[in-house]
């Protein structure tokens, strides 16, 4: 019997999630917003929870479907389907991919994590596999993490630094945002962990040598 689509772990992103993850999710819906605004039907495929509010210009029908119910969209026209943070949580993705691909009059947006940390098997390689099965002419956008800092008037958020100045005129606010190299960041973290494990083992090795009893010197053999 074919296995059914089943969630394997808790929802990756919820209100209690890390703020950066929530911002990632919001960005995905903002990316889809122009397409949703012009649609007759917006279908958000999800395993649990509620979708965010549709864009203001949207006047159509909102549907929330489980992955196994996507076939219900067959025959509907001017549909936008968003399927974010779902695929990596399914044991068997085949039925969902087949159902999404079979929608003939729909705009489909699906997200796949670049999870090189190994929590799931979804990373660059799996995405390449998925792409080879998507319809011709599909487009791909990369979602990257940003790292940034701003300097401005005091507000409710906890600052990283306090900057005092005097003697001159008022300075303008500054906002610096840069894309974060995720590979480099992950490498850095892993290197710290590997170094820690190595030095711990090296320390144990040296301590073992120190604690080992020195070889006893035997008295010279007595001549008979």
């Amino acid at each position: 019997m074919p296995r059914r689509a089943m969630p394997t772990w808790e929802d990756r992103i919820k209100q209690s999630s890390e703020p950066a993850l929530r911002a990632e999710r919001d960005a995905r819906y903002r990316y889809a917003a122009p397409a949703i605004a012009n649609a007759v039907v917006w279908c958000d495929v999800r395993l649990e929870g509620e979708p965010p509010a549709p864009p203001e210009a949207f006047a159509g029908e909102v549907l929330v479907l489980a992955p196994g119910d996507v076939h219900q969209l067959k025959g509907k026209r001017d549909v936008v389907v968003t399927c974010f943070d779902v695929i990596e949580r399914l044991d068997n993705v085949a039925p969902l991919i087949e159902a999404l691909e079979s929608l003939k009059h729909a705009t489909v947006l699906i997200s796949v994590p670049n999870d090189v940390a190994g929590q799931t098997a979804w990373s660059e390689g799996s995405f390449a596999e998925l792409r080879s099965l998507l319809p011709d002419g599909h487009t791909v956008a990369n979602q990257t993490a940003l790292s940034g800092s701003s300097i401005g008037p005091e507000n409710a958020n906890a600052p990283t630094h306090f900057i005092a100045s005097w003697g001159g005129g008022a300075l303008e606010d500054v906002r610096e945002v840069a894309e974060l190299d995720l590979d480099e960041q992950r490498d850095w973290v892993r290197r710290q962990l590997a170094d820690l494990a190595f030095y711990k083992a090296a320390y144990e090795e040296l301590r073992g040598e120190r604690d080992r009893p020195a070889p006893r010197e035997l008295p010279p053999a007595s001549s008979s």
Binding site: S123, E129, R190, A194, D195, A197, F198, E205
Partner: protein, 410 residues
Amino acid sequence: MRVAFLVNDLQLSGGIGVVVRHARGLAADHGMDVSLVLVRDWDLPHWSGYDDLPHLHVISLEEARERRFDVAVATWWETTFSLFTVPAKRHAYFVQSLEDRFYEPDNAERVGAALTLDLPVAFITEARWIQRTLAELRPDAPCHLVRNGIDKEVFASPATVEPNVAAPLRILIEGDPTVWFKGVREAAKAAMAVRAPRRVTVVTGRPEALEVDVDRVITHVPHREMAALYADTDVVLKLSRVEGMFGPPLEGFHMGATCVTTEVTGHDEYIEHGRNALLVDWDDQTGTTRQLELLAKDRRLLHELRSNALATARGWPDWSHATQFMAIALHRIATSKEPDATRAAEAMMADLRGGIEQYGVHLQERLEYARDAAKLEKVKALPGIAQANRARQTRLGRYTVRFLRKLLGR
């Protein structure tokens, strides 16, 4: 959905193992009716090495010809000879490597294997480098990527890598030394040249052909024992010249071993120089030995590479994940339109022409060599030359030649 995979045999090997894993998964988890079609005649059912194939039909080519399938899939270039004799709605070709590269340039099979890539089929492949190559060779044909999974129960990764702080560097080499493109002898030589404390293990089914004295040779190792060997390894050494998906280092990664390797096809699927492995140049035995020396001396680097290798392995799919993609690919092939035979024929005729031209050049070269050889034979047969040659073979003659060479400083 009825699927037929055409195989030469079911002997335990890397390529057949992949087909059997997919076939099992498709039948057990995706409700497909899967047959393994043996295209060669065998006296007995050949599935040595597999405990059982409960969900599969193993049938002969004759039996397959009496059935009808949704998709028939060739799995090795020689199986394409029988592919179109199996009645199927669609025909596909699971390309696990560019198999013409297994043969040396003068070998007739080389052209034959290359030509099979021009058939009017949909392709499925397991590596991105093959997918890219096929896209260039056959832009008209659909090509689905389905990476091989790893048996995560057999190659069960440890939670962390145990650092090797002071013990000898544990190097593992695997493969058949008689297969020219595996580079097993070269690897053994490079490893044995390491002067730092090391332990070189070679895993091979042909130990007599190794021709290099190593610290340890192990033969006929089943998968589970192979996993244990990788777990007792710091670095897998591979100097292959042709690989498909390049599985062995990845199995090593799962057990916490890094890799020193040439930039062989398939390495870029998961290997990154300086992050989880080290790359070496082709035919560079000294350079290879130096990289191993580096790992023997810099144990912090060794541990970092091993830790990153393990992290890479964690993100690699298991067989269940891999077979899902195979299932989708087969459904897609079954429901898509038939590949354009005219475009395929066009590609095949262009390649055939190239093959004939190449064969003509080789033939011409051989004729020229044969003519030169005939001239030499005539010279050798001249009176006095033949006697002189015979005299050289005697003990006195050999001493005289050696003495003259010394005298002339040659």
